[in-house]
Symmetry: C2
Subunit: 554 residues, 2 copies
C-alpha cells in the first residue's frame, strides 16, 4: 500500500499537536506567496493569470498524496513557464484558445512521460546532468526570463522573443516610448521586494507589494492613463479540461515535453533531497517522478499548466514549519477559496508588479560565484558551465541544455581517453611504490619497469596506453621485466583485453618478462574469462608489487 500511496507514511503517524500548527502556518504563508507568483508565472507562460491559480490547486493536492517529499512546494515555477512559452508560442498565438488547448496537451504529455519514467525506474537519467550544466543553464534562463518581463516593467509593447540580444536592441531603440507611471510602479515594486527579502524576512514582500500597488492603482485609476492591469479574473473552480490528443501536435511538443520533464525533475528532486536529508527521511527518484507525473496529469484535466517543485517556495514552506504534505493541501485549499470568493480583488493588480516579482525571483538564480569556484578547482568544469550558459543564451533554451549535457559527457569520455600513467619507484620510508616524477627519491632499477595505469581500460584509451607504455620502455636500457600496477584499472572491456593481450605477446617475444600486480577482483574475472590465466599463468595474479618482484627474482 505505502508503495503506491506514500502519504500513508506520514498520515498514519500524524500528530495533531506536533504537526498541525506548522503545517497550517506554512500552508497559509505559501498560499500568500503563491497567489501572485502563480499569476505571474501564468503570464510568463503566455496564459491568462487565472490559470496560474488553477495550476496551484489540484496538482498540489495530488503531489501531497503521491509524492515522497513532505515539504516540496509543487506548482507553477518560472523555468517551466518559460519552457512552455518557448515550446508553444511557435505553434499558436499566446493566450488564444488553441494555445491554451496545446498547453493542456503539453501538461498531459509531461505527466505521462514522468509517470512512465517512474514506473520503468528511469529516474537515474537525471544524474547525467552535471551540476555545472544546471548552474550555467539556470543563470542563462534567469536572464532570458528577466528580459522577457522588461516589456511589462517599462510599459512598452515589445515583440515576445527568447533572444536576449534582440530584446535589448529593441528596448534601446524605443527608450522614448517608456511609460513612466508603469516604470515607477515596477521599480518601486522591485525596491520593496528586495527590501523585504534582505531586511524584513518575516513578512512576505510579495503580499506587501500586491496590496500596496492594487490600492494605489485602484485609488488613482492609473489604468486609465495606460498602466497595464490584470483586469477581470474569472471566479469559480477550475473547469474540467480534456487534453485533445492529436498526433502531429504530440510530435511537435515532444522535445519541449522532455525538456520540461528533465529540467523540472532535476530542480525539484535536488530541492526535495536537500530537505529530506535534513529531516532524515528518504526520497526515491522514481517515486518522485510518479508523484510529479500524477500532479501534471491532474493539472491537464483541471485547466492548469505543467508544474514542478519550486526551489524558493519549498524553502519558504520548510522554514515556515511544514511537517507533512498536509501543508500543501492547505495551500491548495486556500487558493480554491480565493478562486471562489476573492478573484475580483485582483482587478487592479498592475502587470508591472507581477513582472517585478518574476525579476526579483529569477535574479537570485544567477550564480556568478560558482564559475570562479569551479575555475579554481578544475577549469574544465567552469568551462562546462560557461558553454551551457552561452549556448542557452545564444542558440536557445532546449539546445542550450542539450549542448551542456553532451559537452560535459564528451569531456568525461575525452579525459578518460588520455589517462594519467606513472613510472613507480620504491620509497623506503613507508615501503610504498610512488610516481618517480613526484617523489624524486623513489628508487628505480635499470632492468625493471614498474608502471601504474590510472584508468579503466577500454576501446577509446587502449591505443593511447600502449603508446605511453612504449615511451616508458624506450627510456629503459637493459629492460628485462615490466610490472604493470593495475590498482587503478577499475574495469576493462573485451576490445581492450584483446589489444593488451597482443601487446603483451609482442613484449614477450622480445624476451622481456611481464607481470600484472594488484589486479582487482572484477578485472581478474574478466581476464580469466578471456583465457589469460591459462595462457599467462599466475603472473597476472600478484597481490602486490613486492610479490611480483620476488617472483621475477629482482
Amino acid at each position: 500500500m505505502n508503495q503506491w500511496f506514500p502519504f500513508l507514511d506520514w498520515m498514519k503517524k500524524y500528530d495533531l499537536k506536533e504537526d498541525f500548527k506548522g503545517d497550517m502556518i506554512a500552508g497559509l504563508i505559501v498560499a500568500i506567496m503563491l497567489i501572485p507568483q502563480g499569476m505571474a508565472y501564468a503570464m510568463l507562460a503566455g496564459l491568462p493569470p487565472v490559470m496560474g491559480l488553477y495550476a496551484s490547486t489540484v496538482p498540489l493536492i495530488l503531489y501531497a498524496l503521491f509524492g515522497t517529499s513532505r515539504q516540496l512546494s509543487v506548482g507553477p515555477v518560472a523555468m517551466v513557464s518559460l519552457l512552455i512559452f518557448t515550446g508553444v508560442s511557435g505553434l499558436a498565438e499566446p493566450g488564444s484558445d488553441q494555445y491554451i488547448s496545446l498547453v493542456f496537451l503539453l501538461a498531459f504529455m509531461v505527466g505521462v512521460i514522468q509517470l512512465l519514467m517512474g514506473i520503468f525506474k528511469l529516474g537515474a537519467i537525471s544524474k547525467f546532468i552535471s551540476h555545472a550544466v544546471i548552474s550555467g543553464f539556470t543563470s542563462a534562463a534567469a536572464i532570458i526570463i528577466g528580459m522577457s518581463q522588461l516589456k511589462h516593467l517599462i510599459g512598452v509593447e515589445i515583440e515576445a522573443s527568447n533572444n536576449v540580444f534582440l530584446i535589448i536592441a529593441e528596448v534601446f531603440t524605443r527608450l522614448n516610448e517608456i511609460h513612466l507611471p508603469t516604470l515607477l510602479i515596477g521599480l518601486g515594486s522591485i525596491f520593496i521586494l528586495v527590501l523585504f527579502k534582505k531586511k524584513i524576512k518575516k513578512i512576505p514582500g510579495a503580499l506587501v507589494v500586491v496590496v500596496t500597488m492594487i490600492a494605489i492603482v485602484g485609488f488613482l485609476q492609473l489604468n486609465e492613463i495606460g498602466v497595464g492591469i490584470v483586469g477581470n479574473v474569472p471566479d469559480g473552480l477550475p473547469s474540467l479540461s480534456i487534453p485533445s490528443l492529436n498526433i502531429p501536435a504530440i510530435n511537435t511538443l515532444l522535445p519541449i515535453a522532455f525538456t520540461i520533464v528533465i529540467i523540472g525533475f532535476v530542480e525539484s528532486y535536488a530541492m526535495a533531497k536537500v530537505i529530506a536529508t535534513k529531516e532524515r527521511y528518504t526520497i526515491h527518484a522514481n517515486k518522485e517522478l510518479n508523484g510529479l507525473g500524477i500532479a501534471n496529469i491532474g493539472t491537464s484535466f483541471f485547466s492548469g499548466f505543467p508544474v514542478t517543485g519550486g526551489f524558493s517556495r519549498s524553502a519558504v514552506n520548510y522554514d515556515a514549519g511544514a511537517r507533512t504534505g498536509l501543508a500543501s493541501i492547505i495551500t491548495g485549499a486556500i487558493i480554491l477559496l480565493t478562486l471562489l470568493f476573492f478573484t475580483s480583488w485582483f482587478y487592479y493588480l498592475p502587470q508591472a508588479v507581477l513582472a517585478a516579482i518574476i525579476i526579483v525571483a529569477v535574479y537570485g538564480l544567477i550564480d556568478v560565484k560558482e564559475v570562479f569556484h569551479l575555475w579554481n578547482i578544475k577549469r574544465i568544469d567552469a568551462i562546462s558551465l560557461l558553454v551551457t550558459f552561452s549556448a542557452t543564451l545564444v542558440i536557445g533554451i532546449e539546445a542550450g541544455i542539450a549542448t551542456g549535457v553532451v559537452f560535459s559527457i564528451l569531456n568525461f569520455v575525452y579525459r578518460s581517453s588520455k589517462p594519467h600513467m606513472a613510472e613507480l619507484g620504491y620509497i623506503e620510508e613507508n615501503q610504498t611504490y610512488r610516481n618517480v616524477n613526484r617523489y624524486p627519491m623513489a628508487k628505480t632499477k635499470d632492468d625493471v619497469l614498474i608502471v601504474r595505469i590510472d584508468a579503466a581500460i577500454y576501446f577509446a584509451n587502449i591505443s593511447y596506453i600502449e603508446e605511453r607504455l612504449s615511451d616508458f620502455i624506450n627510456n629503459k636500457q637493459d629492460l628485462k621485466a615490466i610490472i604493470l600496477d593495475f590498482s587503478g584499472v577499475n574495469d576493462m572491456d573485451a576490445v581492450a583485453i584483446d589489444d593488451l593481450g597482443k601487446w603483451i605477446d609482442q613484449i614477450r617475444e622480445e624476451n622481456v618478462k611481464i607481470s600484472l600486480a594488484q589486479v582487482k577482483g572484477p578485472v581478474r574475472d574478466l581476464l580469466k574469462k578471456a583465457g589469460w590465466t591459462k595462457k599467462y599463468g599466475d603472473v597476472i595474479q600478484h597481490p602486490t608489487i613486492e610479490t611480483a618482484l620476488l617472483k621475477l627474482g629482482k
Copy 2:
C-alpha cells in the same frame, strides 16, 4: 622535409637489389587484382566501370608519396563505394552526368576534410569507434553490399535499394524471371574464386575468372541472349575533372563525406598499423590522414571517386613482397598502361563476374566468431556489436554506425555511473587489504569501515557512491571511523569534490572520523585546490591504509 614528404624516408635508403624485386612483383600482382576489383567497385558505386580504373591510378601514386605506410594499397574499396552509392543516389540518377559530377565533389570534400583533420591533428577521433562497433558495422555492410549485387548475379532488374529485406522480398517474388545463363556464369565465378582463395593461393582467382569468362561470353556471344556485359570501356588517360563547388550540394553531401572519412580512415589506419608493427616502422594517424586527403583530392581532379586503403589488397601487396611505396606506383603505372592500350579487352566481361568478385570479397568480412568471442569475455561488448549490426541493416549505413558509436560510448558512461565498491578486510598472509566478499578470511573491525571506491568520481556517479557508502555504514554497529581507499580513484571533477565534501562534513557531525588513504597525485592536487588540506588536514594524505589506521589509533 621528411615531415611533409614521407616518401623521402624510404627513397633515400632505397636498395635496388633488396627492394626492387619485391616491389615489382607486388606491384604487378596488385594491378592484376585491382583491374577487375576497380571496375566492380565502380559499378557498386553506381559509376561506369572505367572510373574504377581512373581511381586506381593517380590516387595510388599520390598516397605512395604522401602517406606513411609503405605497403598500404590505396584505391577503390567496397565499403566506400557502397557509401558513395548510399549518399549520392538520392540526389541524382546513378551513372548520369550529374551523378558523376556530384561524386567528384564528394571525393574533393572527403580529401579536404581528411587533410584538415590531419593538419589539425584530429586523427585521434577515430579511437572512439570501438572495434566491436566496426566489426558489427562491417558485417552488416558486407551483407548489404552482397545483396546489392544479387541483381547482377541472377540477371533480374531489381530496384536499387539499401534495404536488405526489400531486396530479398523482391527476389522471391521474381524467382521466375531469373536469367539462367547469367546465373550460371555468376555461380561458376564464385566457385572458381573460392577454389583459388582456399586451395590455389599462388594464382589470383580474379584473373582466372575474368579471362575465362571473357573468353566464354565472347566466343559464344552470350551477350546476345541477354547476359549483361561491361561493353565499351573508353580508352585513354583519365581526363581532368573540376569538382563544381555548389553550396547546397556541399551541405547535402557533408554527412556522407564525414562517414566516408571516418570509415575509410579507421579501416585503412588499422591495416597500416598491423603491417607497420610487423615491419617495425611507425605510422602516424595525422600523417596518414594527410596522405589519404591528398590522394582523394587527386582522385577528384582525375575523374576518379573516393578511395582508401583496402584491407585484403594491402595484405596481398605485403605478402607479395612490397617493400616501399614504389610497389603502389608500379601498380598505378600498369593500370595507366591498361587504360591506354587494353581497355577493349574487357568488352565481353560479364557484370555477373564483377558481382561475384564483390560477393566473395565481402563474404570474408562477415565475422560471426567475434560475436561469440566478445560474448564470452564481456556481454555488453557483444551487444554493442549486435546493436550496430542490426541498426546498420535496419535503419541504414550512416545511422547504423552512428548508433553503434553513441551506444558504445553511452554504455561506457553508464557503467562509470555505477562503479564497483568493496568493503576491505586485512589479510595477514600477504599483509594486504582485500574485498571481504571475495576473501572471507579477511579481518574486519566493528568500529572501523574501510571502503575502496573503484572509479574516477564525477558528477554522474557521486550520488550513487554516496548511496552505497550509506549502505556500508548502515551495516556497521559502533562505527567510529571510516577509511576510504582512493587507490582506484583516478580522477575527480569539481562537482564531485563539492558533493563529497558535504557528505564528509555530515559524517563528521555524527562524530565519526574519516580519512582517505592512497590518494593519487593528480587527485591530491585537486583536493588541495579545493581547500581540503586546510579544512581536513593531513587525514587526506595517508600513503597507505596502515598509516591511516595508525593515526586513528586503531
